[in-house]
């Protein structure tokens, strides 16, 4: 099996469909992944970049819309997402807060894996402490 590390533009191009030629290349990769000939690995940093693009000035998706779109991508069996469960949880928190997605990821990771979060970001720390007290 050939292993590929997928960049943000690869994933974004599926949603945005700006180039038919490049989309066809992507679909060919996906077809080979479905046949288990390719492994398409998506690092969590790619998900963060995707959040920045989708929520940015050009696409202006709401937090909930960003979550729904990335949930749909997580649901595609052709991709292997790094920390997919944590990404899913962090997007739930992202959609219902005003925190940055990296902060919601760190909070989700700390809570799920038993770390104590330490940050100088007061908003992130307040959310972490509130959620920690709810599960403690």
């Amino acid at each position: 099996m050939e292993k590929y590390l997928i960049d943000t533009n690869f994933i974004a191009r599926i949603l945005i469909k700006d180039s038919p030629e490049q989309l066809q290349i992507i679909l060919d990769f996906i077809s080979l992944a479905v046949q288990n000939k390719y492994l398409l690995y998506v690092d969590r940093s790619v998900v963060f970049e995707l959040v920045y693009v989708l929520s940015g000035n050009i696409y202006q998706l709401s937090r909930q819309q960003v979550k729904l779109n990335i949930d749909s991508l997580l649901d595609l069996e052709c991709f292997t997402f790094e920390d997919s469960t944590l990404i899913y949880k962090s997007l739930e928190l992202y959609a219902t807060s005003t925190l940055d997605v990296v902060d919601t990821f760190l909070i989700s990771k700390a809570l799920a894996e038993g770390y104590e979060l330490y940050s100088f970001d007061k908003k992130a720390m307040a959310t972490y402490k509130k959620l920690f007290s709810e599960i403690a």
């Binding site: 943000t8 949603l15 700006d18 479905v34 000035n57 050009i58």
Partner: protein
């Protein structure tokens, strides 16, 4: 792929090696080829067999081109990614 208008049930015996034979009608319905990978999903009270190729295709169909820019832009996706990161971290540091 043919479509099923009603639920069809057939029985199949599990071999000593935990293997089962899928009726040809089922293979045709799911557009499955011999030797192909299949997806098996456990759901409450049942196991679902699907063609991963079709499953991904159907999900992709809904996703491809599902997002449009809210403002006119001549930037490529690569440039959009760079620009959104710059804006994001600039706003975060303020």
């Amino acid at each position: 792929m043919s479509t099923a208008s009603a639920t069809k049930t057939k029985t199949s015996k599990i071999s000593s090696k935990r293997q089962i034979t899928l009726p040809k009608q089922f293979l045709d319905y799911l557009d499955l080829d011999l030797g192909q990978m299949i997806s098996i999903t456990i759901k409450p009270g049942k196991i679902e067999i699907s063609n991963p190729k079709n499953s991904v295709s159907q999900k992709l169909e809904k996703l491809v081109g599902s997002i449009s820019p809210k403002i006119k832009t001549n930037l490529t996706i690569e440039e959009q990614i760079e620009a959104s990161k710059k804006t994001h971290f600039k706003n975060k540091s303020l």
